[in-house]
């Protein structure tokens, strides 16, 4: 049962990430996703300090705000300060991450977050951390419930706004011309990335979220030219990574999240070899 819950959690994270990651890769913004996944940390800590509990809603709001702020700062330094994008990303996310770590260390006594969980999370604890209804009965593991809601939200978002996402991704100039603001959709997308990052945070950690955002989407991008297929394939790759990753971590007795990423890397390697040999 525990194995099933862990694989399910992993799949939920991987599919959410793969769907959003597809848009990030197509928009050439993979590294902004990376930056967001690090800089949500101070948002989470500040939300925790203000509210005083690990309630998901506040954390998600805090992280979401920080994610959008990060995107804004990167753009701001790039446009107004004429700082090249790579440096703008690098300066912004390390600064916010350092702020987060300092806050965590300062309030280490009462925060249940430490650097380890930020970096690689611990998916193995998911089955133990249950959510209770008002009568005190367990209704299921908290992470599974939260992540299911996030995934449902993302899927609904993509289905409803598929046209807008499609057009702002592939032809921002045209979309602006017909009145669909590409920068507004940019921020909406980045808000969703922050949401996913923070929801996946405790189970897989910040850096591995990045891997799940980029690797399955990039693999799918190599072997298809159709956006719908890319979304489907990257989700499948995500689920496969979760299954095989669990098996690999069982074999090596190592981190489940690390193993999932290793597998998604291997999937990318396979897709890479296939495309290169076809040339």
């Amino acid at each position: 049962m525990d194995a099933f819950i862990i694989i399910l959690t992993g799949s939920l994270v991987a599919v959410s990430c793969a769907l959003l990651g597809s848009f990030l890769v197509l928009r050439k913004m993979a590294m902004i996703g990376d930056a967001i996944s690090h800089s949500v940390l101070p948002g989470i800590v500040i939300a925790f300090l203000l509210v005083g509990s690990m309630q998901s809603v506040w954390m998600i709001i805090g992280a979401g705000l920080l994610g959008v702020l990060t995107t804004f700062l990167i753009e701001f330094f790039h446009q107004k300060g004429r700082l090249q994008t790579d440096a703008s990303i690098g300066v912004t996310f390390t600064w916010l991450f350092a702020l987060g770590v300092i806050l965590v260390t300062y309030y280490a006594g009462n925060a249940h977050i430490d650097q380890d969980c930020i970096l690689h999370g611990e998916i193995a604890y998911v089955p133990i951390d249950l959510m209770y209804d008002s009568a005190g009965n367990a209704i299921g593991p908290k992470a599974v419930i939260v992540l299911s809601i996030v995934l449902a939200l993302i899927v609904a978002f993509i289905i409803v706004f598929y046209k807008e996402l499609f057009i702002t991704t592939f032809d921002p100039a045209f979309s602006n011309a017909i009145g669909i603001s590409s920068s507004r959709w940019h921020y909406v997308l980045m808000g969703l990335v922050s949401l996913t990052t923070v929801a996946s945070f405790e189970s897989v950690g910040a850096i591995l979220v990045v891997a799940l955002l980029i690797a399955p989407a990039s693999s799918a991008y190599l072997i298809t030219r159709d956006l719908k297929w890319m979304l489907v394939l990257s989700s499948i790759f995500g689920v496969v990574s979760s299954f095989l990753g669990y098996w690999l971590s069982y074999l090596l007795d190592g981190s489940i999240a690390g193993a999932m990423v290793t597998i998604s890397g291997a999937i990318f390697g396979t897709c890479y070899l296939v495309t290169v040999s076809r040339k």
Partner: protein, 429 residues
């Protein structure tokens, strides 16, 4: 204050070592960072710092020891492989730099985490200490570790010193470097190698995630203060060294405070200050300049509108209501009140009840702008053979920047014309 004196007297040899070590590491990464910054490959540092983890784990697994030199060799090799992988992805697939960077970074790190947890769970007692590579521990820079890292940092600096000119060329203009016969391939390998080395040693102080900042932030900050590479290297080293000392001091005076994140915090504060307030390139000064130019344009356009009204009515000094100016050209009401207020403080217009009228100076200035506008329109139609109905926009921008000297030359070239392509009179000087 006492803590400060105590700190800088280096009473405890331990402090001396830690300060010395962090300064050296900060400087070597700040110097190398300048080159990656110029090549617009700043995030390479981020990739390498994540990618060293599997190398460290493998060399630990293979040797079973924590000998810093062995771990550095492992880290160096896997850092290099990550760069090769990244370049191969960019070269051979349709994926772009951002995806290749993120992919290489996160997958290598994932493998590293898997290996590290494997080592931890296999119950190897001596593994404790491998994770200082993850989070960094500047205060633990003592003995053999300090020696190893200092030697490498000094080596990096010496290489940069010797190959300064070559690195400068391949960073700014690889084509030219190739033409004059420099062995770019080998120089690139050397530059990448010292980048990897700088990252490998720096991680010990600040950890995997924040290592990127040690490379990028001082260089980005220094860029705002100078246009010369030699000065940039110097300034970014000073920033790096300063952050090293202050980081060490903060964690000395408040032991619960981590050194690495504070070093990055101080660097970031310096960088943010530079972004906003550096003279020449800073955001504040730039916005101020833009504001100045925009208000100059607004004032000149208003004067031109006054002049045109005067032209059609035959009386340049008649009283004009603010709204009448809008018949000549679109102004927002904010622009109108702002511009008119500015013009009246400068003595170009005078307020008379609800209306405004030009002063002599205002009339002359309005006349000159109109004149330049029409001269330019004529020049465009006559010499560039542009249709008369296409020249207005261009003249509208250029009229604000034509100098008196250029004005005279235009006049002469056009043989002192009296009317523009739309048969409006060109006012005399």
């Amino acid at each position: 204050m006492e803590t400060l004196i105590e700190f800088f007297s280096f009473e405890y040899p331990n402090i001396k070592y830690v300060v010395f070590g962090t300064i050296l590491l900060s400087i070597s990464s700040a110097v190398v960072g300048c080159f990656t910054f110029i090549k617009k490959k700043s995030l390479v540092g981020d990739v390498v710092s994540h990618a060293v983890l599997p190398g460290i784990c493998i060399s630990f697994l293979a040797s079973g020891s924590k000998d810093p030199f062995l771990l550095i060799v492992g880290a160096f090799v896997s850092g290099w492989i990550s760069i090769i992988v990244m370049d191969a992805i960019i070269k051979n697939t349709k994926l772009k730099e951002d995806a290749a960077t993120g992919l290489s970074l996160s997958v290598f790190f994932g493998i590293g985490i898997l290996l590290m947890t494997y080592i931890q769970h296999s119950g190897n007692a001596s593994q404790s200490g491998l994770d200082t590579f993850l989070f960094g521990k500047a205060a633990a820079l003592v003995g053999m570790d300090l020696l190893a890292f200092s030697i490498i940092a000094v080596m990096v600096l010496i290489v940069v010193f010797i190959f300064y000119k070559e690195f400068k060329l391949i960073s700014f203009d690889p084509q030219f470097a190739k033409v004059i016969g420099l062995p770019i391939q080998r120089l690139e390998v050397l530059l990448t190698s010292i980048t990897v080395l700088a990252v490998v040693t720096g991680i010990q102080a600040v950890g995997v995630v924040l290592m990127a900042a040690m490379l990028i932030t001082p260089a980005a900050a220094a860029r705002f203060w100078t246009n010369r590479l030699s000065k940039m290297l110097l300034i970014s080293s000073v920033f790096g060294a300063f952050s090293g000392i202050s980081g060490a001091f903060i964690s000395y005076s408040t032991p619960s405070m981590p050194t690495g994140p504070w070093m990055v915090m101080i660097l970031s504060i310096i960088a943010l200050f530079s972004f906003f307030f550096a003279p020449g390139r800073g955001i504040v000064i730039n916005q101020w300049r833009r504001f100045k130019i925009q208000s100059q344009l607004l004032e000149e356009n208003l004067l031109k509108a006054f002049f045109k009204i005067g032209e059609s009515s035959g009386n340049f000094f008649m009283e004009v209501e603010a709204n009448d100016l809008r018949l000549v050209r679109t102004f927002s009401s904010g622009q109108l009140s702002r511009g008119l207020r500015k013009l009246s403080t400068n003595g170009y217009v005078e307020k008379a009840g609800n209306s405004w009228k030009l002063s002599i100076e205002g009339h002359d200035k309005g006349k000159r702008i109109t004149r330049l506008h029409r001269l330019w329109e004529l020049y465009l139609t006559k010499y560039l053979r542009i249709a008369p109905d296409h020249v207005h926009e261009d003249a509208d921008t250029i009229e604000h920047v034509i100098t008196p000297e250029l004005e005279r030359r235009l006049e002469k070239l056009l043989d002192y014309p009296t009317s523009d392509p739309h048969q409006s009179a060109i006012p005399t000087r």
